[in-house]
Amino acid sequence: MSTETSDLRSQTSEAGPSKNRQRAEWLRENRVRVTVLAVLVFVFVVALLGLEREDWFETIMQGLSVGALTFLVVSGLSLIFGLMDVFNLAHGEFFMLGAYLGWTAYTRADTLLDVAIPLLLLAAPFALMPLWQRLAVSITLTGRARKATAWGFVIVGALAAFFTITRFPLVIWDAENFALTPANMTVQIDLGTHAPLPADTFSGPVIVAVLGVLLGGALIAFGFGTLRKPGTETEALDRRNYVAFGGLLLAALLLHLVKEPVNEWIFGLSTTWRFFLSMGISVLLVAAFGALVEVILIRPLYDRPIYQLMITLGLGFILIELVREVWGRPEFTMARPAAFAGTGEGCPGQGLGGFFSGCSTVEVFGGRLRVYNEGFVILVGIVVLVAVTLLLRRSRLGMVIRAGVEHPEMVEALGINVRRVFTMVFALGSGLAALGGVLAAPSIGLSSGMGAVFLLGAIVALAVGGLTSFPGAAVGALVVGLLQQIIIRYGQVGIPIPFVEEPFKPSPTVVPAASIVLMVIILLVLPTGLLGRSEK
């Protein structure tokens, strides 16, 4: 397969006198692809026809729902791998982090506000980076001694910050105490009550806590300033730095003053609006975290790709442990927002209009669907697909990304800061994964293993669709979602096998195995995936 004919889109959209010959040529070049696609569609249709009518509609919709969640994970994975050749094995854990942060913003917004204050204070000294760099010049040590001193400052600063942050009033759940477990809080929200946690105040004088965190931040920033090679030009210290520093301090102060009213306001909102709010907060936080990860962990390793793979593996491991430490090991769920939780009079809704009736379930074509899972999740998936496609096709950033996938060196030569685009794409991908996480939280619940499950699905989808193709990622996610749901459904009704009395029932644990087998088969037949470009 040559490069110019393998792109499905560009070929089919071309019109000319020799259209038929071109079509024949295209078919010959892509015969494996077309055959695989035809076999897949055939298998799916046969599998669906084997089901009862109300079953197959349900199955398709459930497949779409799982496909939409998988798509949110795989889209980021695909963009990141396509642009910078980083296979982010921690992507599933970004999804998980999104879910947990979303739950926190939805159920315990007060905790998030409480934690934000010391973090803002901690970040403030970093705004004065040029000052620290200038001060660090006075340290005349060189080589290893300088490095050791710098890390000493960082460690001392981190310790100082850690011990003073605990002096701040932090209203937090407690995985050990049943009344304060995350699971119990979800139940309370579901019942419409919201028992406030015991109010907490500063332990010890306020000034010690504030100054301690500021000092800790300053020490860490100074350490990083010292890490730079001596003799390199320091950045200019201008008004912007002071404004940023002052702004962060002011923000922390303001947040502290308005904490109570904001809290009241958030908990006064209807659960639906709060859900959208927590979605936004979680996406922003995880996107920021993703950007930080790219800058600190991924960027130093661009010339050692295998180590990049390993570091993302380690990062995922750390995130799982972190979630277990902070939110506890037991699984819990997130309360479903009111708009999707209606019961009683007039429920379940009938027909397609029932999706907007405010009921939790709806009956369509004899099948019973959950409005949240099979309606809202799919809707968000489609919106994201359209939005990202538009971003890639119509915006300047999208143009740079597409060009970067093809020829990164050329893009750099044209004077575009590819590094910054890398960071932005990493943040975008992390944000999309977090969106998937928040969406998944009310339907499948939160557990520290949810990331690994969806990462596996996403890897399969990526391999099926083509490693660097964005439309391929969408197709792959769809295939994975449908396949999983069809097998689950057949696990319930059983597969009739000729000459055998008892129908064969695959156990639920076999479901992920089936999609992996599909991945292996497709990769072996078609190493570039269904829509992927052949290797350059």
Partner: protein, 368 residues
Amino acid sequence: MTSTALAQSTGLSGWLRRRRGLLGAIALLVAFPFIISIVIDGQGLAAVVNNDLGNARFLQGLAIEIFILGIYAISYDLILGVTGILSFGHAMFFAVGAYTFGIMLKSFELAWPVALLVVLVAAVLQAILFALVLPRVHGITYALVTLGFASVFWIVIQSSDLADYAGAEVGLQGVDAPVWFLDTTNERFIFYLICLAIFFGVYVLYQHIVDSPAGRVFVAIRENEDRALMLGYNTFWFKLLVLVIASITAALAGTIHTLHQPIVTPNVAGLFWTVTALLIILIGGMGTITGALIGAAVYRLLEYYLDKWFAGAAGLLIGAAYVLLVLYVPYGIVGTWRAKSLRIKEGRDRLLKLLTGGGGKEEPAAKE
């Protein structure tokens, strides 16, 4: 590695001198339980042979776990570090050995040499399975396919359909020791010595493999496969050979694991177990063979003590250590040591010269 002067000396004495580090380590490890028994437990030498409870017995168990990890990691080092095949399904190599051996003993009640033979056949077969996809996919895609293989195995081994054999999520348990000298509960010291022998046997064998002409081709495949092909080596057969050797070794580690642990959990087939191997060879130094052994010891001790001191936060600390290692010590302990050792040697020579007032008798020979 060994200097030219030492390598030239022949005969038994020469061999002893060349291998003095290794022999010293073996002697130390054989004496180790006795030393612990006397110094820490305050018991006699007989306590070790009699299998009495105490620190000596416990630390022997810990050492056996290190041996298992070492054998397992060394096989991964051959695949990833020496030959440069990016496989993420290595846990399956281990788990196939562990589960096959256990099931053959428990459910099929085979004699243990027959069970070992079955493990051998299973190991070769799965190596062939991993090799069959090699010509089709490379690099990251190969990593994904092998990850896929291992995940399927992990899922199947946990499924309720096989619960009678593999014990579903709980794992395989109730495998009795087939003969008296493979009994880790009642004959701990004998079992310890057997594991020690296998551990160093595998190590010496691997060193010979890497130093052999075939081993040179493995390294050539890692450095530049196209060039190795152009020189006339059919790299596929060499990679198959690597996979077969590694698979048998890892399966061996798995069988010892089955004998040593009261229960074989599905965790040993999961991605985390592959990551463990990766972590071990990263700590020790990739592609150095010796590094896998040192890494295994460091990893297991680190895990044990972090778990003891920090309880829940241990996993977090291990993860952080892993990330820092990848960022700042990419060549591991042995790799960094080898890079620095020349300078250290020079410094030592200079110090000796200064102390003795003009060069010792043997020292100049050690310079390359």
